[in-house]
Amino acid sequence: MRGNLHGIRVLDLTSEAGHFAAKLLGDLGADVVKVEPPGGDPARRRGPFWGHVDDRERSLVWLAYNTSKRGITLDVTKPRGRDLLLDLVARADVVLETQAPGALATSGLGWDALRAKNPRVVLCSLTPWGQSGPYAGWRGSDLTVIAMSGNLHCTGDPDRAPVRCSLPVAHYHASIEAALGVTFALVAREQTGRGQHLDVAMQAAMIMPNMATASMFKTTGNRGARAGAFFRQPKSVQREIWPCKDGWVSFALRGGPARVPGLVAMVKLMDEHGMASETLKATDWKAYNHNLLSQAEVDALSAEFGAFFASKTMTELFTAAVERNLMLAPANTAREIAASEQLAFREFFVEVENPGRERLRYPGAFAKITSSDPAATAIGIRRPAPRLGEHTAEILGEVGVTEAMLIELHHARVC
């Protein structure tokens, strides 16, 4: 099995914010080597643990984002560790890192040192704010970069604090951004023969999710506001997340050519269940414009739709939505997702064998690829997340480290 990035060697020096970036490159066929300090990546100490066993090989956040990588241990802050890393850089195409700006240089592994060792290498630095600028020295994390992107301000209920997603979406956004930046730099290298340094900032990566509203502020004057389960319209506030019998569904009362057929079909469904009033059935959907509805009109509509949703389960509503193109979706949890017939049809989930433990069911490839040579364009998980130091001997062996040297390096706590 090869893949679009077959033959590309990636050294992954990242901590949690960048684990996903290197995994994506690995899923596309790159040969990714995770470099951990001898004590292990801090994420290995993070629960929840598989089977609730507190063990560095059972951290689920580690296991989730480090598939498709081999793993070595190396203390790059020690001179011998640094020199071995530079030897690996000479044979690598990409280095990914997430240290504070300047920290790598302090260890003798800054951009100038890497470039001197290998002019073709691409260094991608993923940090909260960027490599330079007034806040480059600030600390940052998922919560604080989203705070400074405008996205947090607009998320949550109006009567409470702005709220983040409970899993770190800034890591996901910025990691995909980093992986695509690396791929662009590899394309550029095909023409120039040289690598380059990429400065990816998580704060900047979290602005695009506002979907142009930040750029439009200059003309709209709209600073954004939290609407909770609702959607703000010029003349009204309309519910978008509705309680149903066993959870929640997303459904909009908005019109427009793409959405009106779904509204019409929904009213028909409600009518079949005897839950559409004569007034609702008499609505002229051709003339329907959600922008023009008064709050009283919205409330009247919402009462009927809301009563219907409350009488049905997420599954009942979604089944109808798929059959009748209702543009309604359940707010799925992992349980519904694991049981999805669509995902089953597409063989999305894959079983990954974890040596010494068991098989674990993972989300698989992030896209499907068709080509005349499927093995050459394969995408998806290549191997389980590495055990601590699992591949140290085979990878350091490439740069001349013998078994005897390895024992000594272990002893000196270099690896």
Binding site: P48, G133, M148, D157, A204, I207, M208, G224, S250, K368
Partner: protein, 406 residues
Amino acid sequence: MDVFAGTTILELGAGAAGPVAMRYFADCGATVIRIESKARPDFLRTLKLTPNTPGGLDAAEHFAVLNVNKLSVALNLSMPEGVAVAKRLALWADAVAENFAPGAMKKWGLDYATLACERADLVMISTCLNGATGPHRAYPGFGGQGSALSGFNHLTGWPDREPVGPYGTITDSLSPRYSALLLASALLHRRRTGQGQHIDLSQVEGGLVCLSEALVTFAANGEVLGRIGNRARHAVPHGVFRCRDAADGRERWIAIAIHDDADWRKLVAAMGDPAWATDASLAAVAGRQTRIGEVECHLDGWTREHDARPLAERLQAAGLDAAPVLDLGDLHDDPQLAHRRHFREVEHPVIGRHPAEMNAIGFSETPADIRTAAPKLGQHTAHVLRELLGMSADEYASLEQKGVLA
């Protein structure tokens, strides 16, 4: 040097997910050609359209921000001649990107299987909500449904309230990044092997791969992760706290993340060692976790007496992870974003000068930039068909006369 100088990408589709993806290429020098039609305009061109909008379809700022650096060809795909021209463009371009509902491209004979018969090394990407295959392939939806289906809604909000989902329908912003990654990797692969490929990106599946932690945790332990407000399982306190209102009455908030016990000691010192915080039972994370409500309440009382940005600067100076919550307007005054030139202005023929945003990648050797405003619908029809594709003057005139180029 531009990464994609000399690369031509044909873009079909509408909205954000498809067009934002191709912005990455356009900003790096690719010639990105949108096929559009006045008969069925991109809905982003019509969001605020009324019969009296000056400039009509060309006056939509939402479209303008997301489509800078691109060319527009007007082509009516409901006419067979229009489809034929689209096909010539697809076979001539270096890559094709589309985000129609599954089946639309096949209906026109513009699907990968058909095009690949005539061009074996075609690189093409298709993006839709649930992917091109499977029982839900035809299910229509926007990002609102994508966010719900992939689990982001369930994970965002307060445990005692409705799920809300991150602002901006997150699958619409994750999928363009995946698209750009996938298409660039496919172009690199073709450059090295001569092989083409078709990429089928399901926006829901892309979102699910991001949420691997939640799905693997369910598979391993049967545990369903849920929304827990701003709290974190390992960092206490970890939240957003009210500050003094701005002079104009706007609410102000600060985000503070205390990652470990050393951070906690710094925070206690920064607060001036108040009695409640020096309680020894709060020194370790487990103790703070047990009394989290009380800790948050005290902290909120303290932050309310401060202005958000100066307080964040003070906490950062003390070595802590803290930041003011910025609204969409504040971003334009943020010194860090200004340093990166994240917003860059461009002159649009109808809208005038407006900012558009850059991606988050600083390239040391091949910088991206904003060069031209988003196109007016059909602005480049003649340029692309005549000069780039090499269509004869007669054929062009004939198509124009039949109304194909509109």
